[in-house]
């Protein structure tokens, strides 16, 4: 008898790899059509005020310019906020593109020029003259922090007596950190291609992390029926959160298509990629009180983030400080400052990537002040329960992350004294930090369909933003159905498929994967029922006796191919669709992924340049479906953390209220030469609560804690605490 390798847990190559390395994968702005029109967006260059007039006569005079659309000439759009809300909306009144003459931020789209080719549209856009009436604006969080109001977030209630314990602690620290605005900058700029169908319906290729989110948005904003809008996103060239909400190129392209009854494509420029959501700038205050033996007696974390004047963007910035360590006296505060800017947007590990900078840098400062090893300090304060929720964890192998990560890194060789390690002219620093992210699960649906040749197609309206969704869902489906991996196709990126949540928050494997698993389980039941009816030898076989593997149904010595069962069924394809939701047993538990990150930096003593020479990232995320792809997710997260620590900062000219460095030359992301060795290890973590797969998701956890670990390593190298991120060389000289 053959032994079958279980598909889950195998380091399978990406099933879409061939398409991606040969240039055949088509992204949103890459669907051609005869007569396709091209839209070019003209943006506001003031931060607040109103449009007095728009003169497009020079643009319209050019042969080939088809239309110039602004707030006075657009098709009708909805009047109520609820029509503009989407699955990732912030509280407030969502932005309405080309709605009226009001200008709410610099870079706001004001005009769409539509022409029969790309260059002409762009050139014509440069000829549009806009007259403004400017009003005074405010874009500086630091200057406006006294205006902060409580964020509309459900924070854990204060517990214990924070102030008294802080005041009475043997050691107390009061530390201030700040982080910069960051823009997602996926390599693929946002684009929407609206293909106007002969019946007036719209087929839209959009850059999104949620095809159904965009379908619903377009439908509501333009007053269309659901059947009139279908969104596709077969390939997404990176998103990192930027595709969680419909971005403005989508409604602009739809406006043009509806107005002209033609197919239209709108692709944003790289500069325009700085004109919508971003990771907000934050100011953070950490107050820690500890006993001489390192036990935390008081933890206070205050964060002030920026938001727009029209929405209150909230994320989980401070919650982590109430759960990562055992502490009975905790006070968490989160405030927002509205500015004349666009609303921030979830960006890789939203909130956690920020809050863990404050918490994990402060823990390092505490370790130094107490002369306790930073890993040891974390073990002293290890939390067995999530005190925010007062629940045990479904699983938590963070201790193993600390231990195995430290061992792999060689942490026990560390001399705790700052500036004590050196390599030629480079100061060597070793730092570490911990990380945590929620392990969420959302409702999701999936359909499994087996054809007469034994090929299985499984589908759900999720996306693959580079995370490996195509591949891991193929593996989950193969494992759950007994069909060989090569006979399984997973279909995604189409709003007409079974319902899927947004792809974000590291909950796609947990949510969609569970639906896929259940759909395949239901398909097996259906196949067994067919076998019982059509193959007398199987008449008495029970579910427990039935084994599905290698494309066959077996029971003892009996075997029949699934293809034959499909043919025997009398149906063209055997099909099942399921709706999966989180198991009730999760409710009694807190669920989270954890990490421990160890970093070595080299700091040039004369120049202040920092090089992250090596990183060990130890991850506890439950069962790993595909170690190759999961490792890639963590590698990417680490690179993002290095960028956050050292490179990334959207700089604003507050006099103009405008981002200055809106290009990839001036907004620095790590390049190949910036990245040293990254060693990823997954610790064994069994979890039978989180979902039936035992898998928690890995998209976010890789970044969390990395920036703090880099900062802590820089302190160890130089003796300088830089609390204002990113840590650029000028701050080290």
């Amino acid at each position: 008898m053959n032994t079958f390798t279980q598909p889950m847990g195998q380091p399978l190559d990406r099933v879409d790899g061939h398409l991606k390395v040969t240039g055949q994968a088509r992204y949103a702005g890459e669907f051609p059509e005869q007569g396709l029109l091209h839209g070019s967006v003209v943006s506001s260059n003031i931060a607040r005020g109103r449009v007095l007039s728009i003169d497009a006569s020079a643009a319209l005079a050019l042969p080939g310019v088809v239309a110039v659309i602004d707030h006075t000439s657009r098709p009708p759009i909805a009047s109520y906020d609820k029509n503009y809300e989407d699955a990732d909306s912030a509280e407030g009144s969502p932005f309405r593109p080309l709605y009226n003459d009001q200008i709410q931020y610099s870079g706001q789209p004001l005009v769409l020029v539509v022409a029969d080719n790309l260059e002409l549209a762009r050139h014509a856009g440069s000829l549009v003259r806009i007259e403004y009436e400017s009003e005074a604006h405010q874009t500086d969080l630091l200057a406006m922090q006294s205006q902060a109001h409580p964020a509309p977030a459900e924070l854990p209630k204060p517990r214990g007596n924070f102030q008294a314990e802080l005041a009475g602690a043997a050691l107390s620290l009061d530390l201030h950190y700040s982080t910069a605005i960051e823009h997602h900058n996926p390599m693929e700029p946002h684009a929407s291609t609206v293909l106007y169908q002969p019946d007036g319906t719209l087929h839209i290729h959009d850059k999104t992390q949620g095809p159904q989110n965009c379908q619903s948005y377009v439908q509501k904003v333009f007053g269309l029926e659901k059947e009139q809008v279908r969104i596709f996103a077969a390939f997404v060239g990176g998103a990192f959160g930027s595709g969680l909400r419909p971005q403005y190129q989508l409604p602009l392209a739809v406006m043009a298509a509806l107005k002209l009854k033609r197919s239209v494509r709108v692709t944003l420029t790289r500069q325009q990629m700085f004109t919508f959501g971003y990771r907000p700038r934050t100011l953070q205050r950490l107050q820690l009180g500890a006993a001489a033996n390192g036990r935390l007696l008081a933890v206070g974390h205050t964060a002030i983030g920026q938001t727009s004047r029209f929405e209150d963007f909230t994320e989980h910035v401070v919650e982590w400080s109430g759960m990562l360590y055992q502490c009975d006296n905790v006070q968490l505060t989160y405030k927002l400052v509205p500015l004349d800017v666009f609303t921030p947007l979830d960006m890789r590990a939203p909130g956690a990537a920020l809050g863990l900078i404050g918490l994990e840098c402060a823990m390092d400062e505490l370790a130094c002040a107490l002369a306790i090893d930073p890993v040891q300090l974390r073990l002293i304060n290890y939390a067995e329960r999530n005190q925010n929720e007062d629940k045990p964890y479904s699983s938590k192998e963070l201790r193993a992350c600390y231990e195995q990560g430290a061992e792999r890194f060689g942490w026990n060789q560390r001399n705790p004294e700052p500036r004590s390690m050196r390599h030629d002219r480079q100061l060597v620093g070793w730092g570490m930090a911990g990380g945590v992210w929620e392990a969420m699960q959302k409702k999701a649906s999936a359909k499994a369909s087996l054809d007469h040749s034994g090929k299985l197609t499984v589908s759900s309206a999720t996306t693959d933003i580079g995370t490996g969704t195509y591949t891991v869902m193929t593996q989950i489906a193969a494992q759950a159905s007994g069909v060989s991996v090569q006979d399984v196709t997973f279909v995604l990126g189409d709003s007409s498929l079974p319902t899927a949540p947004l792809q974000g928050g590291s909950f796609t494997v947990s949510s969609v994967g569970t639906a896929v698993q259940q759909a395949c389980a239901a398909l097996k039941e259906k196949l067994l029922a067919v076998a019982r009816q059509t193959h007398p030898a199987f008449a008495a076989v029970t579910s427990e006796q039935a084994v599905f593997e290698g494309g066959q149904l077996c029971s003892g010595d009996l075997r029949v191919s699934l293809a034959e069962l499909a043919r025997s069924s009398g149906e063209a394809t055997l099909e099942v669709q399921v709706d999966a939701e989180p198991d009730k047993k999760r409710e009694a538990y807190a669920t989270a992924t954890h990490s421990a990150v160890f970093v070595e930096v080299l700091v040039d003593e004369d120049l202040g340049t920092v090089k992250v020479n090596r990183v060990v990232s130890a991850i506890a995320a439950g069962r790993v479906v595909n170690p190759k792809m999961a490792r890639s997710q963590i590698l990417g997260g680490v690179v993002w953390g290095i960028g956050m620590a050292l490179h990334e900062e959207t700089q604003t000219d507050h006099a103009l209220g405008r981002h200055m460095n809106h290009s990839l030359a001036e907004y620095h992301i790590p390049v190949n030469a910036d990245i040293g060795d990254i060693d990823v290890l997954f610790v064994e973590e069994r979890d039978e609560i989180v979902n039936a797969l035992g898998s928690k998701g890995v998209g976010e956890i890789g970044i969390v804690g990395v920036a703090a670990a880099v900062a802590n390593a820089i302190y160890h190298a130089t003796g300088k605490r830089v609390r204002d991120f990113p840590i650029t060389l000028d701050k080290l000289l």
Binding site: G17, G23, R26, Y27, A61, M187, P670
Partner: protein, 177 residues
């Protein structure tokens, strides 16, 4: 402001003949003088494998091999390519047989979203043609014009290290020297 087009402007709209070898095939095209090589490929020839990430020569997503050398297609006017031998990502594989660099990228998971990937692969083949990279540090430095936002850099290095010898053995791949 005049809204009329003068004769000189009108004349500049004239299309220019362009003859080149594109992925091994001789092509005779006509292009407008301002059309970049990148827009020619993507908008006029539907060769969308060459990507536009910034249109400013800052990201490397549009890297193609022009006479075997890696160039940013967004900074190259199409009319400059008359008589050139051009290879894009679509021209690297021999039918279903992937180029060694493409195979290595798949094997090492040297990409995630895939958008920078054609540029990375063309750049890596160009690097092999240059014959300069002898160490990992060289590869890191000489591949730093190709940004990858997914952060696949270490896998990209591993893929290139593995494929370089095979690529050098086929020196001249992708347009030759």
């Amino acid at each position: 402001m005049s809204a009329t087009i003068d004769d000189a402007t009108q004349a500049s709209f004239a299309r220019h003949p362009l003859g080149l070898t594109l992925n091994g095939q001789t092509r005779q095209l006509e292009v407008l003088p301002w059309t970049t090589l990148l827009d020619l490929l993507r908008e006029h020839l539907d060769l969308i494998g060459t990507k536009k990430g910034c249109d400013h020569g800052q990201c490397g997503a549009c890297t193609v091999l022009l006479n075997g050398k890696r160039v940013n297609a967004c900074l190259t006017l199409a009319v400059m390519c008359d008589g050139a031998d051009l290879t894009t990502i679509e021209g690297l594989a021999e039918g279903e047989q992937l180029h060694p660099m493409q195979q290595a990228f798949v094997k090492h998971d040297a990409f995630q979203c895939g958008y920078c990937t054609p540029g990375q692969i063309c750049s890596a083949v160009g690097l092999a043609n240059e014959g300069r990279a002898s160490t990992t540090a060289d590869i890191k430095e000489l591949m730093s014009g190709n940004l990858c936002r997914c952060g696949a850099y270490s896998n990209i290095r591993d893929a290139i290290e593995e494929a370089l010898p095979a690529c050098r053995a086929n020196a001249g791949q992708g347009g030759g020297q």
